[in-house]
Subunit: 436 residues, 2 copies
């Protein structure tokens, strides 16, 4: 077998056998196949597409390029959630303690933020001392002790994906449903989970702007997971505006604590409960999603979820006092309001721009190497459909440096859209559920 022939085959819309995919992925991971051949193949695959059996083979080859964790000796089913990312999307910090408190194991390997979206690892690092860089040994210990653990991708997990992802980034072959699916699923399945709940975001703040694209990605991930014997459901959820009221790392941790205390913004609470409910159901902890929902609500009301969060923080080296005393989190020095330039109703947002505003303030990365200021943040006061008067605050910026403040302010102001009439109809937060 020769890489040049496989490139030609994909270029000419051929379908690869499992052996061919294995040859490509293993050869590239070992370094036998050079970057330039993989780059040509990736572009051919980007443009010609991958069939569902190619995709399953690709995912499996990337998965088995590294270690596949085995937690079968730990109690309960192993379940996880993956979100395709958005503004203010912080449900992992809420549902992991809920689901672990409810008796399942949540071995969560997460990512960092890049561009306009935040990352779970960065949010956790807003908690003083929290260590996301556990060895697999330490990860296993934490999971055994408390049923939840949140770490970054280690070098043992799907090294093929790590190498291929870096190449895709440099060759404009990122935004492809098949390749995205392979990348996500190979990492998630390496967690040794039984079931996975996907939160596929759609809207101006999401990677997928159109519902049909989000559905397509969800379907491909469900099929790939099912082919590998995993239960997978996908919730297609709204990202036309931020989730919850807070963006920025410390800010978001506080909002998660609010939800675990039984409060918090209704949309964030709703989505966290719904995702937890599906995790309980797929993890066979409950007989139905409704029962899962009730269990999730109980875990909050009883304080068990909050206690679990504190335990998880402690086990990963963090200061768990922040849960009861959020002022211990780093706070920005200054705050300033972004006020409405007109009276009317919020008709929509281009909420990707809010993420960019946060990055401009230091609360996000433009390049992978950039440092993050965990203290800066945004607080959103208005949601789609809300009435607003001219001069009334749309959002509040919490910042440390003034250098690019006015740029950030403008970005936020310009990307709240104001109409004279309230928008018609109701916006469902959860648009569709697939794979159920």
């Amino acid at each position: 077998m020769r890489a040049v022939d496989l490139i030609r085959k994909k270029r000419d819309s051929g379908e690869h056998s499992r052996d061919e995919i294995d040859f490509l992925i293993a050869g590239y991971t070992r370094g036998d196949i050079p970057d330039y051949q993989m780059a040509a193949w990736l572009m051919a695959a980007w443009l010609r597409g991958l069939s569902s059996s190619e995709l399953a083979a690709l995912t499996e080859a990337m998965l088995y390029s590294g270690e596949v964790l085995d937690f079968s000796d730990l109690p309960g089913k192993k379940v996880d959630k993956h979100s395709t990312g958005g503004i203010g999307d912080k449900t992992s910090l809420i549902l992991a303690p809920i689901v672990a408190a409810g008796g399942l194991t949540v071995p969560m390997i997460s990512g960092r933020g890049l561009g306009h979206t935040g990352g779970t690892l960065d949010k956790l690092e807003a908690i003083p001392g929290f260590n996301v860089n556990l060895s697999l040994e330490q990860f296993r210990h934490v999971l055994k002790e408390c049923g939840m653990g949140l770490i970054g991708q280690t070098k043992e997990i799907a090294p093929a994906d790590k190498k291929i992802y870096a190449l895709r980034d440099a060759t404009s072959t990122v935004e492809n449903i098949g390749l995205i699916c392979g990348s996500i699923m190979s990492k998630k399945l390496a967690e040794g989970i039984d079931a996975l709940v996907l939160d596929v975001k759609v809207g101006s703040g999401a990677f997928m702007k159109r519902e049909e694209d989000a559905v397509k990605l969800a379907e491909v991930m469900i099929e790939t997971g099912n082919r590998m014997g995993k239960k997978v459901v996908a919730l297609i959820t709204d990202m036309e505006q931020p989730l919850g009221s807070a963006a920025g790392h410390a800010n978001e941790v506080i909002e998660c604590i609010d939800v675990l205390n039984g409060g918090g913004p209704p949309d964030l609470r709703e989505l966290s409960l719904e995702l937890s409910a599906w995790m309980f159901y797929l993890g066979e902890r409950t007989q139905s999603v409704e029962e899962g929902r009730r269990l999730a609500e109980t875990m909050i009301a009883s304080g068990h979820a909050k206690e679990k969060f504190k335990q998880g923080i402690r086990l990963q080296g963090g200061d768990d006092r922040v849960v009861d005393e959020p002022h211990r989190l780093l706070a920005a020095r200054s705050r300033v309001d972004v006020v409405s330039p007109a009276s009317g109703y919020i008709s929509g947002t281009n909420c990707e721009r809010f993420g960019i505003a946060l990055a401009i303030l230091g609360g996000g990365r433009e390049k992978k190497e950039d440092a993050i200021d965990h203290a800066v943040g945004l607080q959103f006061h208005k949601r789609i459909g809300d009435r607003v008067e001219k001069g009334e605050p749309l959002a509040t910026i919490r910042h440390n440096a003034d250098a690019r403040l006015s740029e950030a302010k403008d970005l936020i102001m310009e990307n709240y859209f104001i109409a004279q009439e309230p928008p018609s109809g109701k916006r469902p937060l959860i648009r569709r559920i697939l794979g159920a």
Copy 2:
């Protein structure tokens, strides 16, 4: 400007500006843009295509990546011919002396054989002492002395093409009309010529199997040449069977001498005269193609072309005695006939396979590094439409090693097609003339 953005643009069917093409080609040639980014761009360009203005910019960028020769101080127009290659295609060795004898300058930079097709440089090296590796200084001297010179691509000529071609070879991005055109034209235009005659082969022994593809390639090359102020015509010629009767290096040199002596196979003589006629006409040596044809015939009949060939050989260090004493060329030790398995009429050939048979015998390369046995060869006795009896020789193999002889014999026998009825209609050797 960033390479990753240009890759994305081509991936999404965008059209590059001249500046963007310059950035890519210059950046890659300098080594600022890595192989993997160029590979991804090449695959995107392969699949999305290049517009005629992109192609002109690409050709020009590759052309000016190196030295563009200037022979304006030499007498007469500078003209050349380029063939897309086929089996037994040896016209360069005939038309260069004809056209130089007729008063024009032919600065010919040629290639080597790979796979089933032969290369002019390899054929010339069948002549003892002939040196194709002249410096540009020596090349100029030879051209000044005798009006013809035949050398290989030097490091000064279109280095971008050289680097990109190697990458295309490794990434299955060779067979694309735009990229082929850019590669050919950037090298040919570096010769500092005024006019170019293209011999675009079509048929089972050619790179282009279908006439429409050959026409498309011809049109693109003509347009690119015209945009750069050069006169270009293309002859679409038949390659459903070998050109002439001989394949193999020494064998082909002998057949060229036959034509220069006024004999040789009718098809080879015909095509050589026709290509020479067009070179005379485009080079403004004659008022018409017909007049060019008569001049070419005169150059043969008078012996001037043959004398010019001898002079050219001498000036490039070769033993010019071979022209009058062809037995001085290396001969293979043994010969064996390939006989017809049936009686009937030759209805066609898959003549690419004859080229592979020659390569198997040592008279061609499978890899660029392979050495060539200039003595081995094939002599074809039957042409399409000829009557053949069972047991009658179809071809004769001249060989030195027996190792793969039976394989080569089978390849030849199986790829002469024999029917009970003679094929209907006449096969024109020159199917179309474009750009005239």
